[in-house]
Symmetry: C2
Subunit: 589 residues, 2 copies
């Protein structure tokens, strides 16, 4: 019993060995992540079209839930940019941003994606995340980054704009450009410039000033909090609220409320697909960060248990006034670099955010939204990756096609169509390739027992004997291709009396392929041709013996291709060798 429980509750394992060194390290990491997370959680909640406090709430109980159930020791769970954009898109389809229904829809999204993740975890369905190929994920993140950055320009200019994809966004931005608020624009541009400089220029400066690279890096990561403080101060001192600068305003001073997601079948149905996409995208991103960080310390994570950890975090979000969360890339790296040793660092972060929610929210009253937008822009532009499309173009045209499709469809039509198009195209290309495996007509290399492609080597063949080698397992995807390939080959060789299927690369034969083999056997029989097999692997042979195929087979099963060729060459057309003879000759019966 115990090992099973510890498997589902990893905290039982690392918790037992928890000591004071780990405690210190975790506390330091939690402090740094908390400072980073306060502005981010507000900003991402507003990106998702939600009140800022929802971001704080999504950073308390969900982190605790992950700390109990997750397997990564460094992953920092909470609101992230891409998932926030997907939440905005999905919830916008059922309610308008800012409304109470919209907040309720975000809770349902969190609950549904949590349930999907838990279900996939319990049923070990994590492999479904494989459907998101690297080019698709990379293209999707890049396109999402561009959409998010563009959408935040509205806050920088102090105007309104809307739309889930670029055409509408750009159109509404341009249409409203005349209403730009100068004070807002100044704050927005200064914040953005400062944050870019912090990212690129501060660290070298700090190192020059004598700091070690690691603390310098961590201090640079805390830049946003300085921008937030300076901008808030500027608003208060210069009374910029009077000049029309939009500010965060009142945030309730409280711990997360207990919320109950709506149990409305219609709403659940409308949000099911978006929640599924959102949970899979979140899982893929989170697992890849967690794996990268775990490997640095030769630790492991368990992807199926990660599904449960992230699922629990999202369910927790749905019952505590939050919205969908996952493991974030930037914060996790900071957490790791700051020395986090166990998931307890996450728990301490949750406590830090809870304290902020209780006591610090009045300080955020005058924080300009333009500064939050600037932190988002700077964060997401680092996600935009224009080098990968080029390297993928050089490496594989098919992969490039999947990536380009994902980027273009996401930019033009939005996040959900983008993911679906990318996954669909990748899968179609994969199935297309799987449906026509490599196969060759082979002949014997002179004076050897080797058989090679007749197109590439000078080999010995016989007009009465045709040998086909298939370099792939036989499945339902290529079964029909096999029928066509064999029948065409036979039609091209009118003198053939014996067809040998050389099966050295066939690791399995499914029921559809077996049916095709039976059809080939019957059709060849009708045409007066015997079908033989050679070099059938042990497990494949075991399985064939559970079918009627071997009884119906007009020809024989030869242990080696060499043997097959020799026996069929010797055999007169009227006197085919008996199957038993061959086995007898090998001393097998």
């Amino acid at each position: 019993m115990m090992p099973r429980l510890a498997h589902y509750l990893p905290v039982l394992e690392w918790g037992r060995a928890y000591g004071s060194t780990a405690l210190m390290n975790d506390l330091v990491a939690a402090g740094i992540v908390t400072i980073m997370l306060i502005p981010q959680s507000l900003a991402y909640a507003m990106l998702a079209g939600l009140p800022p406090e929802v971001g704080l709430y999504a950073s308390i109980l969900p982190i605790l839930a992950y700390a109990l159930f997750g397997t990564s020791r460094s992953l920092a769970v909470g609101p992230v940019a891409v998932i926030s954009l997907m939440t905005l898109t999905a919830a916008s389809s059922v309610a308008s941003p800012g409304s109470a229904e919209f907040v309720a829809a975000a809770l349902v999204l969190a609950l549904l994606s949590g349930l999907f993740l838990l279900l996939m975890g319990v049923l070990k369905l994590g492999f479904l995340a494989n459907l998101l190929s690297h080019p698709v994920v990379s293209g999707f993140i890049t396109a999402s980054g561009i959409i998010i950055a563009t959408s935040q320009l509205k806050a920088i200019f102090g105007i309104s704009a809307s739309g889930e994809a670029m055409p509408e966004l750009v159109e509404t931005l341009i249409a409203n450009l005349g209403q730009t608020n100068p004070a807002t624009l100044i704050i927005g541009v200064l914040s953005t410039a400062f944050l870019f400089w912090v990212r690129k220029g501060l660290k070298p400066l700090l190192i020059k000033a004598g700091l070690q690279p690691r603390p310098a890096d961590l201090m640079a990561k805390a830049g946003p909090i300085a921008a937030v403080a300076a901008a808030t101060l500027a608003v208060v001192l210069l009374d910029l609220e009077e000049r029309g600068v939009a500010i965060v305003g009142d945030i309730p001073q409280s711990l997360p409320p207990l919320t109950m997601p709506l149990f409305d079948a219609g709403l659940w149905q409308q949000l099911a697909i978006p929640a599924l996409l959102l949970s899979i995208i979140g899982f893929v991103e989170s697992v890849s960060v967690a794996q990268t960080l775990a490997a640095k310390k030769r630790q492991r994570i368990d992807p199926d248990q990660e599904l449960i950890g992230l699922g629990a975090a999202n369910v927790a979000a749905s019952f505590s006034g939050g919205y969908p969360v996952t493991g974030g890339f930037a914060r996790s790296v900071v957490n790791f670099d700051a020395g986090a040793e166990t998931p307890a660092a996450g728990a301490f972060t949750a406590v830090g955010i809870a304290i902020a929610a209780l006591f610090l929210t009045p300080l955020l009253y005058s924080l300009p939204i333009a500064t939050l937008a600037a932190t988002i822009i700077v964060a997401v532009l680092s996600l935009v990756d224009l080098r990968t499309p080029l390297t993928i173009w050089r490496y594989s045209r098919a992969d490039f096609a999947a990536m380009a499709t994902t980027i273009v469809v996401t930019l033009l039509m939005g996040v959900e169509p983008g993911v679906i198009a990318g996954v669909g195209l990748s899968l179609a290309l994969y199935l297309w390739r799987s449906s026509r495996p490599h196969a060759a007509i082979v002949g014997r290399v002179p004076e050897t027992g080797h058989f090679r492609n007749v197109k590439r080597h000078k080999v010995i063949t016989d007009p009465r004997i045709l040998t086909i080698r298939v370099d792939e397992s036989l499945t339902y995807l290529n079964a029909r291709w096999l029928e066509e390939f064999v029948l065409e080959a036979v039609a091209d060789h009118p003198d053939v009396k014996h067809l040998v299927l050389m099966s050295s690369a066939v690791n399995s034969i499914d029921a559809s392929a077996l049916e095709s083999l039976e059809a080939i056997n019957h059709r060849l029989c009708d045409a007066g041709i015997k079908l033989h097999l050679s070099e059938v692997k042990g497990p494949v042979m075991d399985r064939l013996e559970r079918s009627f195929f071997l009884e119906e087979l007009t020809g024989q099963v030869f242990l080696s291709q060499d043997e097959a060729f020799a026996a069929l060459l010797l055999a007169g057309e009227d006197m085919p060798p008996q199957r038993e003879d061959v086995w007898l000759a090998r001393g097998l019966i």
Copy 2:
């Protein structure tokens, strides 16, 4: 130009060599198929919820279109049972059977499925039909046969019943059983019994009477027309219409009308998915019949051109008052056995049906619908195959699961959910298996250069060197698995300094797998482990050279695994051999 045109218009090829022998044979076959098709076309149209004449119209122009564009010399195109059921289900979702809107929906279905088929043919997308594995198609046909036979019981009893799946059908049948019409029931039961006897008992009797087996078989196939004649006569002579026996009634005496499918975006959208399913199911069934018959004469069919032939037939149906058609199994076999030599036999059948539509419809006025239902029941029960599930169960549990799911979902929920569930489950199982290929940690067999699985053989290993052999191409589906497998293996072997990926079975590496290899390389590097490759195939190496991977690789690429093991054993931990040294040693530089 000429060969291209002949490719798309196969009639140009066989038409040139057409002679009087072929003409005679085709005329005889056409005569027999026409006799068989008259009652069938009426019956299937009524099964589809359409007026009987629609069945005749669907058997004229569509057959001519297929004769021009199709590649099979024996395929008999026209209304078939399963497609009629799918038409009923799809059109019922937008209109009620019997209404003018319903007939219009059937035309749109024919047009859409025709366009899908043409599109797949032009884009060479026939491989999409591979998604329908044999167990799914077989299960679907069996379940459809049960549903169709059950639905026809209403006509046998002279009561009403409705429903697209078994629960509703059975419920409404039982509820209305009290309204059974005795005269109808007598006709229905007698017709069914007679047709079963014709199918099983007539042929032996005819042979006993001195007929050759083939003509005896063909005469037995004409049994339905005898039943139709006898039942019609009975209705007229006994004045059964007075007793409430439902009859076919007035059928307009005319050639097919010119119809224009509705161009209504909303309707098209609602019918698009059903039309797609219907066209793929029809294509799969038709191609398998055509291939079986072609192979008997060592002829070929071209599946992509078949898509165009069937597409043209369905478009023709939509413009001539018909409904979706495809190649039928039973009629095609009769056509073949009766000696049809070219698609001209189809054209003559079309003429035969046109004559029937013009002159014979008054004779069908008193034909009882119960007799048509009997012909359907007898025809579809031969589609119900209860032996295949057993053989598939013995052969493969995964395939059985796909088949059982298809049967159960089709019976309980209807044809569309059934196909979708079967295809979805097959694909999920396939992707699941593809996502975890076979791999092994290998060691050297003593005193040889062979490397084998450490779990199965006594082999030599070294704690500093870990060799993993993956028995599959590296794709996005198994890329994440590869990362996990390698990292777990490394975590299990704490002394490892060198990891070798033995790539003898790797036929390709896609961009996602390349990304995973890069991630593995970096993570191993962080953990102080070098990554090496061995036995990389030529084309894979060519492609890797177009990426940055080989530059970043911490270890080397060895030509053989034997060489890799020897070099890494010799190399001290501090003095790894240079890559150039190895190539130099092989005399390559």
